[in-house]
């Protein structure tokens, strides 16, 4: 019997699990895919929003501003790359400058510090590669960037190091309510828990329906992105947004925490959680990126992808106990600025909701620190040599583009939460994320996975299930 079962291994569920693991509680995370961070937490913009966008007094505004302030500390503890690079909402007309003024006022009302509108030469001094048609920008100094899947994986790994349990390939298909909740997976497994937290993202409506809660509806919005080579990582310094208009927010042009340049996302309503990219979507990203920065080096694209974001019909976060189900907590509709808000949401759910259901005692030996999966290339020569002496596998570079060592790959396969396939290794270590996109390292990474797992190369998958890399031996 678990005290708390969290459904959904995204960034919200992950940070919540970590928070719970700091108490003397038996907690677990249920994830339907074969790895964590497989939904919207692996394919979003990775922006730590300042908090000027959300409507004052909304949950979005509250948790955004709180989460923004917490993010640096969380990232440091978990060894996650984070940069306080600042953001800039760019205006291209007098009319849009008026919107910037409104945003600034709204931000101040939300408690955002350091907002300033810059004009003309000052604007181009900040961002020389902005199109010359830009006239002003709202500078938000507290804006930042973080790697969303790295944050999710690290939070869950840290929680597991502190005693939390992870069940992957556990798709909750039935929930029975008695003295506690019993959750059944599609494979016939079951676990029971006193408290259940629904952080299932795109699946959160389905999960709520399983306990007869029909209080909200989830819609899906797909965002397509194009990622550029690290050579273009310094093309802009800040995250550049278009001024929101009645037609929508437009796309962003931003460096990523890993040093690439990210363009996107589009925003298309979709009926299914399918992350295919489209010709029109990718074209519109290119067209808009060129509007923002006419010299954007599109020839440096190394990949394109999309993520499907879940939003609720309430158009604000839903963070509350289910009305008809005591001990069943809803954390749903966590659309943008959900990533930024996640650390604050996790605190709130524990401190304000779970504390009313369970007795919470701090774990004395809780260790909030996690060593990053990807770290070696940033060390000094002396530090590297010390590690290689103790473990020669750190002297073997496997991914040449990102300079990832065999030691890091083995670590990703053996430490919480263990990677089990090519994409899992990629998200933890960046092996295969560089300019050759795994062209060189893929066979080697596959061999290391096979060796560590003690299976044949033919069993290695890209992302679980039927995604095997190879179909059989040669003649």
């Amino acid at each position: 019997m678990f005290d708390v079962a969290v459904i959904g291994g995204g960034v919200v569920g992950g940070l919540l699990l970590r928070k719970l693991s700091s108490y003397n509680l038996k907690v677990c995370l249920l994830e339907k895919e074969n790895d964590v961070a497989m939904g919207q937490s692996k394919a979003n913009s990775g922006i730590v929003h300042a908090g000027f966008d959300a409507k004052p007094n909304s949950l979005k505004a509250k948790f955004n501003v709180l989460g923004n302030k917490m993010m640096k500390g969380v990232a440091e503890e978990l060894g996650v790359k984070y940069s306080n690079n600042g953001s800039l909402v760019v205006a291209f007309s007098e009319e849009e400058i008026e919107t910037l003024k409104d945003l600034k006022q709204r931000g101040e009302q939300n408690g955002v510090d350091g907002l300033e509108i810059v004009y003309g030469d000052d604007l181009f001094a900040l961002e020389p590669n902005l199109s010359k048609t830009a006239v002003a920008g709202l500078l938000a100094r507290t804006g930042g960037i973080i790697c969303p899947y790295e944050l999710t994986i690290s939070a869950i790994g840290n929680a597991m190091d502190n005693g939390a349990e992870l069940f992957t390939n556990f798709e909750v298909v039935k929930i029975e309510k008695g003295d506690c909740y019993t959750l059944y997976s599609s494979n016939g497994e079951q676990i029971s828990a006193k408290v259940v937290v629904n952080c299932a993202g795109a699946g959160s409506q389905k999960i709520a329906n399983l306990v007869g809660d029909y209080s909200f509806e989830i819609g899906l919005r797909r965002g397509e992105y194009i990622l550029l080579d690290k050579e273009s990582g310094n093309f802009v310094s800040r995250t550049l947004f278009f001024t929101p208009t009645k037609k929508g927010k437009g796309i962003l042009v931003s460096p990523t925490a890993d040093g690439n340049l990210l363009l996107g996302p589009t925003a298309d309503e979709v009926l299914e959680n399918v992350t295919d990219t489209t010709k029109d979507g990718l074209e519109s990203v290119m067209v808009k990126a060129k509007q923002m920065c006419d010299k954007v080096p599109l020839y440096n694209a190394i990949t394109s992808f999309s993520g499907v974001r879940a939003y609720s019909d309430k158009h604000d976060f839903i963070i509350e106990e289910s009305k008809q189900n005591k001990g069943f907590i809803l954390v749903a509709g966590i659309e943008s600025p959900g990533l930024t808000s996640a650390p604050a949401i996790a605190e709130y759910v524990v401190d304000e909701l779970i504390s009313k259901l369970l007795r919470l005692n701090k774990k004395e030996d809780f260790n909030p620190i996690r060593k990053p999966d990807y770290f070696f290339s940033r060390l000094s020569i002396e530090e590297k040599n010390e590690i290689i002496k103790a473990n020669p596998s750190y002297g073997r570079i496997i991914c040449r583009c990102e300079q990832i060592t065999e030691g890091e790959i083995i670590r990703a396969l053996t430490e919480n939460p263990k990677a089990s396939d090519l994409d899992g290794v990629k998200r933890r270590t960046r092996a295969g994320m560089g300019r050759c996109q795994g062209g060189f390292c893929q066979p080697y990474v596959a061999e290391i996975i096979a060796k560590v797992k003690g299976v044949s190369l033919g069993e290695i998958t890209k992302k679980g299930k039927n995604s095997t890399l190879l179909v059989g031996k040669t003649k």
Partner: protein
């Protein structure tokens, strides 16, 4: 930090030939750094034949061709560090490398030869719509799996790009029992060698779709099909020409890119045409004492020419170390009408010897003339029945012409 006369980055065909040549020209203190656990580079996975026809007048497999040079290196006891990746190169020729025995170490070189080869352009660079399931490989990755690991990546294959590796893999996969349903080429002409079109596609009845590209990839876990479309002159897909092909594997053979990250880090000037270093006829780059050869300099069609070029670079590096040879009088060498690049990009008119100009044309031209000019003065005019982008062209400028160059050398294609 240890010192070394010549550090060669890369132990593939370019690095091996450069090492032997540098040694034979008098410089004996050489170190080859190779990231793989064997010498030979990409030749090790090229088990098809056809290598060495020009140089050795016999047809060899890739590993056989490599072995010729590995033996020469071994006979000379030239030191090699395997499993060693170079992390950086500075403009004062300090090489930082890593392996599991020495850890991270630095070597200060008098001369450096860049011989890192090239990499395949990835699918990601093309922004193709659709899913990202398993079953998408660059042709070279598939070749590695099949020829070195003994595993087949798929059974029903569509290949995008008619580069040589794509063509070779079309045949290879067929021989292994897979069905290659189509090779699509976005250009109206193939970018591979004519002999590979004949021997790898035509002989196996594999259809080549010119002016076609893949417009969507379908599948969730594993590829289940692709949509291909015809393209217009601007290489944009034409609506209404879509065709769906069921397959479990897509191979990409969409170009090779010289792997110049280390060169960039050192501040070596690169050419937009070749994506490799800008070099003089002795293969010296913009950084004095840093030389480049093989596919890191320009993507060759034949390894025979890689060896030839690398011997030149090896000799030049040796001359640089032993005699302190410097560039004296530089003039530019430019690609003009119909020509996409010319190498070398600079000529030192005071160096002795003939200069071979290597170039590629932009399209297929029939009954044309290759014209080399010095300013307004025509130096050479050579009739050609046909030239194509897939085949590298070369013309020789004699020493006496080099000595009298006054303006800049320009290479163009003229069609009557």
């Amino acid at each position: 930090m240890r010192n070394c006369d010549i550090v060669i980055i890369g132990g593939g065909p370019a690095g091996l030939a450069a090492a032997v040549s540098a040694y034979d020209n008098g410089c004996k203190d050489i170190l080859i750094l190779e990231r793989d656990d064997i010498l030979g580079g990409i030749l090790n996975q090229c088990i098809h034949n056809g290598f060495g026809l020009t140089r050795f007048k016999e047809s060899m497999t890739g590993p056989e061709y490599a072995q010729r040079f590995i033996t020469e290196v071994k006979n000379r006891n030239i030191p090699v560090k395997l499993n060693t990746t170079v992390l950086s190169l500075t403009n004062d020729k300090i090489v930082t490398a890593i392996n599991d025995v020495d850890g991270v170490f630095q070597v200060k070189a008098k001369a450096v030869i860049l011989a890192m080869g090239c990499r395949e352009r990835s699918k990601g660079a093309l922004n193709i719509a659709g899913a990202r399931p398993a079953g998408i490989y660059s042709a070279g990755t598939a070749q590695k799996f099949v020829n070195c690991k003994g595993w087949l990546p798929g059974k029903n294959v569509v290949i995008l790009g008619s580069g040589d590796i794509g063509l070779i893999m079309a045949r290879r996969m067929t021989l292994e029992g897979a069905k290659v349903h189509a090779v699509c080429e976005i250009m109206p002409h193939s970018s591979g060698l004519k002999r590979n079109i004949v021997q790898c596609l035509n002989d196996f009845d594999i259809p080549l779709y010119l002016s076609h590209t893949i417009t969507r990839i379908d599948g969730k876990d594993r590829v289940i099909g692709v949509e291909i479309s015809q393209v217009d002159q601007n290489r944009r897909a034409i609506k209404g020409t879509e065709k769906y092909i069921k397959c479990d594997t897509v191979l990409f053979s969409v170009g090779l890119i010289p792997e110049n990250e280390l060169s960039k880090g050192a501040g070596v000037e690169l050419s937009l045409g070749t994506k490799g270093a800008v070099v003089y006829q002795n293969r010296e780059t913009s950084l004095s004492g840093v030389f480049a050869c093989g596919n890191v300099l320009q993507v060759h069609d034949l390894v025979d020419f890689v060896s030839e070029e690398s011997e030149l670079a090896g000799k030049s590096a040796s001359d640089y170390v032993l005699n302190g040879e410097k560039i004296k009088n530089s003039i530019d060498c430019q690609a003009k009408d119909g020509v996409s690049y010319v190498l070398p990009q600079k000529i030192d008119t005071l160096k002795s010897g003939d200069v071979t100009l290597y170039f590629r044309v932009k399209g297929v031209y029939k009954n044309c003339k290759v014209v080399v000019k010095d300013g307004e003065n025509t130096l050479l005019s050579i009739k050609k029945r046909i030239v194509a982008p897939g085949e590298m062209e070369r013309v020789i400028l004699k020493e006496d012409k080099i000595k009298s160059l006054s303006s800049s050398v320009q290479v163009s294609v003229e069609v009557d």
